[in-house]
């Protein structure tokens, strides 16, 4: 699957299927700090991602206050 990461913007290709939570853990990204969008739609942590999916992992933490 293609995985788009932000801040900084970069793209990874990952083989095999796995759950959203597994992907986040593999990339050492905190679930509370990210949302995962699969083929344009938001998906929860136990959603299964397959090799044909286009996935965006969007960080949600901003530094302004």
């Amino acid at each position: 699957m293609k995985v788009l990461l932000r801040n900084p913007r970069r793209e990874l290709t990952i083989d095999g299927k796995r759950s959203v939570n597994s992907l986040l853990a593999e990339l050492q990204l905190a679930r509370e700090s990210h949302l995962v969008i699969r083929n344009g739609t938001l998906v929860p942590g136990d959603a299964e991602l397959t090799v044909d999916d286009v996935v965006e992992i969007r960080p949600v933490i901003s530094g302004g206050a």
Partner: protein, 322 residues
């Protein structure tokens, strides 16, 4: 495809988001309902707004400010937006485009103020000229211009998009220092006083993750990229620390902040009174200040006389106190 078992707590349809702090999953429709309910709860509990208020929303082009503007309109409030051009290079150019597009698509009124065009400086230059970290120079400028625009425009209340994560992180920092003056002022509503407009934070019961999800579900385009000048600041470090705790113990952030409001804030009433009671008018602009010139006018004096400084020269200097 949504995995088996991931169903909305309300309707049992496929879920789009898991919210561990509620120990539940939600579909798009019921997630939006949850957000609306949390905003209404905050507005009512803290007497933030009425339908008669003339509301000005401070808009950055990021998820929180666009989400709060969207939520208020959705809930039937009358609200205009205020965007401040901070002059942080491409980041500011892009954020302005998101704010303008949001307003234009919904036929909403967006007021724009440009630091460079109207005050002769930008945030990178202010940071260099005043020897402040960028977030400090930015904060002084924004707070002053928010207040001024609200008062000049006859708005009865100024809304900001501060969310639960923002407030919990600030509370964490203030607690680490036991800064009682700041703790006493860390409330979701600051009443109008001494030349300041009423200020409210309707998103204090919702997390950043929930606000980003609100924007995605509602089709709101926002600036995802982080401000280049905020990278490495303490506020972000506090958020990461709290999220590490949240991951282990869902609901900790909400308990930390909301229980502070419930149990601790009442004990601190009056502890910030000394600072506000001794305010006088700035000799240059008339804004409330403790000295002769307010902090904003001091920034303007130094920064507008300084040669413009490109963003790149002050990058990575956001590690000061928030």
């Amino acid at each position: 495809m949504v995995a088996v078992g991931s169903k909305c707590r309300v309707c049992k349809e496929p879920a789009i988001i898991d919210l561990p702090r509620h120990n539940a999953h939600f579909c798009a429709e019921h997630f939006l309902e949850l957000c609306r309910r949390q905003v209404v709860k905050a507005i009512e509990k803290f007497e933030m707004l009425t339908k008669d208020d003339r509301i000005l929303v401070a808009v950055s082009g990021g998820k929180d400010s666009l989400a709060v503007w969207d939520l208020l309109i959705d809930l039937g409030y009358q609200a205009d937006g205020l965007y401040i051009g901070l002059g942080i290079g491409e980041y500011s150019d892009t954020s302005a485009e998101f704010a303008r597009a949001f307003a234009a698509q919904r036929d909403l009124h967006l007021i724009e103020v440009s630091l460079r065009d109207q005050y002769g400086y930008d945030v990178p230059t202010a940071s260099k000229a005043t020897k402040r970290v960028p977030c400090s120079a930015c904060g002084i400028s924004k707070r002053h211009l928010f207040d001024k625009a609200a008062l000049d425009g006859g708005y009865t209340v100024l809304v900001t998009g501060h969310n639960l994560d923002d407030e919990a992180a600030v509370l964490f920092g203030n607690t680490l220092r036991w800064d009682v003056e700041y703790l006493a002022r860390q409330l979701p509503v600051l009443p109008s006083r001494h030349g300041f407009p009423k200020k409210v934070k309707p998103l204090v019961r919702l997390t950043e993750r929930e606000m980003a999800a609100w924007c995605i579900v509602r089709g709101i385009d926002y600036l995802v990229d982080e401000c280049p000048m905020a990278v490495g600041n303490k506020h972000l470090a506090y958020k990461e620390a709290l999220n590490a705790i949240e991951q282990q113990s869902p609901g900790s952030k909400a308990a930390f902040y909301l229980n502070f409001l419930e149990n601790m804030a009442p004990l601190l009433v009056g502890r910030s009174a000394a600072a506000t009671d001794s305010l006088q008018s700035c000799s240059s602009c008339g804004a409330p200040t403790t000295g002769d010139l307010c902090a904003f006018c001091r920034v303007v004096a130094k920064a507008s006389a300084h040669e413009p400084v490109p963003v790149e020269l002050v990058l990575g200097k956001g590690r000061g106190r928030r």
